[in-house]
C-alpha cells in the first residue's frame, strides 16, 4: 500500500512540492525566527536559511530517483534543477546528500553545513546539526546505511555509520560516534557512543537552536 502515490500530473507534482516547501519554511521559521510571524517573516525564513535550500534541492533529487522509470519532460527539468542544486549545496553548504535518502516530513538541516548524508531515511521532525556524517562504514563494522527515526535530535560532529537504526525520539549528543543502534527515547554520548539515559523527552531540545551551545558546553 502506497501512502504517498506518485503524482499523476505536473500540476499535482508542483502542488505537492510547493506545499512541502512551505511546510519546511514554516518549520524553519519557528526555529530560526522565534517571536516573529507573518508572510514577511516566512519569506525571510525561506530565503535566508541555507539548510532549507539544501533540503529543497534534496527533495527534487529524491523525486528524480523515485520517478526514474517515467522520464517525462518534467522529470528532465527536475533532473536539471537537481544538478544545479547539488552544485549549490557543495559550494554554499559544503554538504552532499545521496539522492535516495527518504525524508517524509519536515526536517531541520543545519544552516552551517558540512553535512554528508547517506542515510536511507530520516523521519519527520528531526533536527540535524552541522558537521555530521551519516553513511556506510568500512572500518569497525559492516556495510550498510543507517535509518534515522522521527523526532530525533542529532548534535554537531556526530558520525552515524553502518546499518543501524536511531529510534524515534532519540537524542545523540555532540561528538558521538555511533557503533550500535539506539533504542527509541534514549540519549547516547561518547566516542564510541554509549547509552547514558533512557526514556528522555527531547521536545525542549528540538524547540530551539541555541540550546546546542549549552549542551556542547556541558558535555565537552
Amino acid at each position: 500500500v502506497h501512502l504517498n502515490p506518485a503524482p499523476a500530473t505536473f500540476a499535482q507534482a508542483l502542488d505537492r512540492f510547493v506545499g512541502q516547501f512551505f511546510a519546511d519554511a514554516r518549520f524553519y521559521q519557528g526555529l530560526t525566527r522565534t517571536g516573529t510571524s507573518g508572510p514577511g517573516s516566512l519569506l525571510r525564513a525561506a530565503l535566508g536559511n541555507r539548510g532549507l535550500w539544501l533540503l529543497t534541492f534534496h527533495r527534487i533529487g529524491y523525486h528524480c530517483v523515485s520517478e526514474r522509470r517515467r522520464r517525462s519532460p518534467t522529470w528532465w527539468f527536475a533532473r536539471l534543477c537537481h544538478g544545479i542544486g547539488s552544485c549549490f549545496n557543495v559550494a554554499f553548504c559544503k554538504s552532499a546528500f545521496s539522492a535516495d535518502c527518504e525524508i517524509d516530513g519536515v526536517v531541520y538541516l543545519s544552516n552551517r553545513g558540512y553535512l554528508v548524508c547517506g542515510a536511507l531515511s530520516i523521519g519527520a521532525g528531526s533536527l540535524i546539526h552541522e558537521r555530521c556524517t551519516f553513511g556506510s562504514t568500512v572500518a569497525g563494522g559492516g556495510e550498510g546505511r543507517p535509518f534515522i527515526g522521527k523526532r530525533v535530535w542529532i548534535g554537531p560532529n556526530c558520525i552515524i555509520a553502518g546499518s543501524l537504526t536511531v529510534g524515534d525520539g532519540a537524542t545523540v549528543l555532540p561528538g558521538s560516534f555511533l557503533t550500535h543502534s539506539v533504542p527509541p527515547g534514549a540519549v547516547v554520548k561518547g566516542n564510541p557512543a554509549q547509552i547514558v539515559r533512557t526514556n528522555f523527552d527531547n521536545s525542549t531540545l528540538r524547540r530551539s537552536l541555541t540550546v546546542v551551545q549549552d549542551v556542547a558546553a556541558d558535555h565537552s
Binding site: 554528508v116 572500518a139 569497525g140 560532529n157
Partner: protein
Amino acid sequence: MNSEFVADVRRFADKDRPSQGFWRLLLGNYGLQALLAYRLGRWLLRAGHKWYLWPLLPVGWPLYYLLSRYVRAAFDIRLELSADIGPGFYIGHFGAILVRCCRIGSNCSIGRLTAITPAAHGPGPVIGNCVWIGAHAQIVGSYRIDSGATIAAGAVVRRDVPDAALYLGDPAHVVMRNYDNRCFL
C-alpha cells in the same frame, strides 16, 4: 604532469568507475582537483631549483593560486605545500580537510573533516604507507603512524600508532590487531 599525480589518478580511477576518461574523472572527483592544485604547487617548488624552468614560474604560480583558492572556497580542502604527500593519495569526500606540515607515505586514504597538522609549535605527524584514515579523525601533534594502520572514523590520535591495527575512539586505542585494510583502502 608528474608520476605522483599519475599515481593519484590511477587510485581515483580504481575507486571510481575505471572506464571513464581523465576529464570526467577530474570533473567528478573534488579530491582529484585538490590534488591537482597540490601537485602543481609542489612541482613549482621543485622547479624553482632548476634555472631552465624559471620561465614557467610566472605562469605557474598564479595558476596554482587560482586553483588552490577555488578548491578551498568550493570544497574546503586544504592541502598545504608544507605537507609531503606520497603518490597515490585518495580523498574520499570534500569538506574541512586540513593537511599541513606532515609527511604521508604512498597509497593512503583520508575521509572528510580530518585534520593532520602539527600542534601549535613543533614537528608534524609522520604517516606510513597504505594508511586508511576515516572521517572526523584528528591527528594533531608529532605522532608516528606506521604502515598499514587503520584509523577509524572519529578517532583522535593522542600517541604513536606502532602497528597495523584498527584504532578507534577518543583517545584512539587498539580494537583489532593485525587488521587488514587492503580490501577497502
